[in-house]
Amino acid sequence: MTTTALPRGRRRVGFPPPVVFVLVLVPFLIEAVGVFWPAIQGISLSFLRWNGIAPAESAGVQNYIDLASDPVFGTALRNTVIWIVLFGGISFLAGLGVALLFQSERRGVGIYRTALFLPIVFSLVVTSLIWSAFFQPSGVLNTALEGFGLGDLTRVWLGDSDTALYAVIVAALWREIGYVMVLFIAGLKGIDPAIMEAARVDGATAWQRFRHITFPQLRSVNLVVLSVLVIDSLRSFDIVWAMTRGGPYHSTELLSTYMFSTAFESRSLGYASAIAVVIFVLALAVIISYLVRALSEEKES
């Protein structure tokens, strides 16, 4: 056998072939124009006072100072936290729950899986139409409550500031749970049945099998699901916009809807950019803190 490697001294350390530059540069430029540049511009816009028509004026950090004392921003921030916790948390738990329920191949299980996955097929606008009709003052929910003799519980679900946000979260969950279920089922299928069998033979209860085998084995899927959920929570906009437009009187406002209405309805592009920067920082903080935790856990194991 002869070695085909070139002698050390003769290896060329120079430029890679030109085509490599093109292959790297072109996507980088597209990314720079489509993603990085607007993001940087957004940050610089947040220091301006600009309505999109008149020349922009420098505002320093005034937009951020105003944000701190803006009650609507406070509501939007609080609602966004509620949204992450409830929408994210329930999607995770319910998605995992139904995945465990429907993981094994039994007769008819496909129907249940399909039924749960179906909502994701509908466009969000259709989803919001269905749920708006459901929550209408004379809609299915109120009619059903009255039918069961629970007339006292009927409400204007989407028009009452106490219930509107939760009503929208229900609609969002209806759509998300099937998606999370599919991710978890994929993860569950990846677990070696032999381990489970061994545990069963050793007399482990169902809870013990879940606690010590299934859940730890799902670690990599959990990472994906949690990232998806955090990202989906922070970018939630369409369902709220289509169902309540952030109303009544800002009670269902999320940071994203407030940013949109500030930018395109109130025409305060600088102020809206400041809100966008807050969303960006929030997303970054959540993702980095999670990654740090996940990496340190990995190191330990």
Partner: protein, 428 residues
């Protein structure tokens, strides 16, 4: 030899990067109006239109008729209203904007004219004949330059069904006390007196605010308030909210969660008896019920306050950067002509009145009533967002819907409305 191509690629990359970055730039500076004198460039005149499907017929016919004259070709771009409204600043500030636009008269147009974005059309006005002075004022900038050509306007009224009122044994009220008595009588018979679809069209609540303020404090105060010269936190506005509070027991308690479609269907089915709406509402009433539909003038509250009515005016404006100013002006001249306006309002299903007094119109009973009502008014205003500027609509929606839900909190609501309105103004 080996590094030459690299250098070329690097240069190419740099050029591409610069070009791309420039293209990605959002210009935050005000652009000076381009020089619009001289010959028109070749190509079609682009007309951006925000008309809904129900109204589209009129404008399509208008464009066809103009193109048949052979003076040039107009190309119609129809865009959904909500997209259009949010995109308009982008169109106008772009480097190569569309030429002509459908839009609203008054402050809504002045906001753009103040930035030098609109074409001066005073020479079009010179040849336009006898338009009412009020329409001319609505089409002018603060320094008296015309930048807008009105095509039509419409009325607002409290709509009801004649047969329904007969069944309930009530007649259209003319004064506030009569109005409240009628509401009482309707409610006693188990019918909901007033409805609104606020869950997706919160701005409809502004109609109540506008009319109550016009009837209690008059047109001058109302416009001063919307301009920012008066405060929402003033005793005058508190009076408005006192009257508004009197109507709350008669407004469907579900309005905040009711869509415009649902409210309209409740109204058509006789579940709700009255609906304060603009003339555009007529086509959404089922066809077989349209003859039964009627409206009455918003009741008079203080007989000493001169009567002011809302008459939102629609029309056209042109970009200052158009490269076809001659063709744009000749199109606008055509738009102002009696024939063109007659065709346009005909296509809008009789819910608009032509701005040109010479335009021939077959007015149905409702349109005639609307026209008489507006002509007998001492002053006309447009609508909240058109008089105050679009950006003020958000704070108004929040204040009015919150008041409907929680009338006890009126003090904090008005204080918040005032500060929100100030903030929007300071951003402008």
């Amino acid at each position: 030899m080996t590094y030459r191509p690299h250098r070329r690629i690097a240069a190419l990359g740099a050029v591409m990067a610069t070009a791309a970055l420039m293209a990605g730039c959002v210009s935050t500076g005000g652009a000076a109006p381009a020089d619009t004198s001289g010959e028109d460039t070749a190509g079609n005149l682009i007309l951006q239109s925000r008309f809904t499907d129900a109204e589209k017929g009129g404008i399509e016919e208008l464009v066809e008729n103009f193109n048949a004259l052979g003076e040039g070709t107009v190309e119609l771009n129809s865009i959904p209203t909500s997209t259009y409204n949010s995109q308009l600043p982008t169109y106008l500030t772009g480097s190569n904007p569309p030429d002509v636009y459908t839009w609203y008269a008054g402050q809504a147009t002045r906001d753009y004219a103040d930035q030098g974005l609109l074409l001066d059309v005073s020479d079009v006005w010179d040849g336009m004949g006898d338009f009412p002075d009020a329409l001319r004022t609505l089409s002018q900038t603060d320094d008296g330059t015309e930048v807008f050509v009105p095509t039509g306007y419409y009325w607002w009224g409290v709509y009801y069904f004649k047969s329904e009122f007969e069944k309930l044994g009530v007649t259209p009220p003319t004064t506030w006390d009569e109005f409240l008595a009628v509401c009482d009588q309707i409610q006693a018979q188990g019918v909901n007196p007033i409805t609104m679809g606020l869950s997706d069209n919160a701005w409809l609540a502004s109609a109540w605010f506008d009319y109550l303020d016009l009837r209690i404090n008059g047109g001058d105060f109302h416009l001063a308030l919307l301009n920012g010269d008066e405060s929402y936190d003033s005793p005058e506005v508190r009076e408005v909210f006192k009257a508004f509070a009197q109507t709350l027991p008669y407004i469907d308690p579900a309005v905040l969660g009711t869509t415009q479609n649902q409210a309209m269907s409740d109204f058509a089915q006789g579940k709700s008896a009255m609906y304060l709406l603009g003339a555009w509402a007529q086509p959404s009433v089922p066809e077989d019920q349209r003859d039964d539909l009627a409206f009455f003038q918003f009741p008079i509250i203080d007989p000493d306050v001169p009567i002011v009515e809302e008459a939102p005016t629609d029309g056209f404006m042109a970009s200052a950067k158009t490269t076809k100013s001659t063709l744009a002006k000749s199109f606008l001249e055509y738009v102002a002509s009696p024939e063109a306006q007659a065709a346009l309002v005909k296509g809008q299903q009789g819910t608009a009145l032509a701005a040109n007094p010479e335009a021939e119109q077959n007015l149905d009973a409702l349109a005639q009533q609307g026209k008489d009502m507006l002509e007998s008014a001492s002053q006309v205003t447009q609508f909240y967002n058109r008089d105050a500027g679009d950006a003020q609509q958000g704070p108004a929606d929040a204040a009015l819907t919150q008041f409907i839900a929680d009338p006890e909190a009126v003090d904090s609501i008005l204080a918040q409305w005032q500060s929100a309105a100030e903030k929007v103004r300071s951003a402008e």
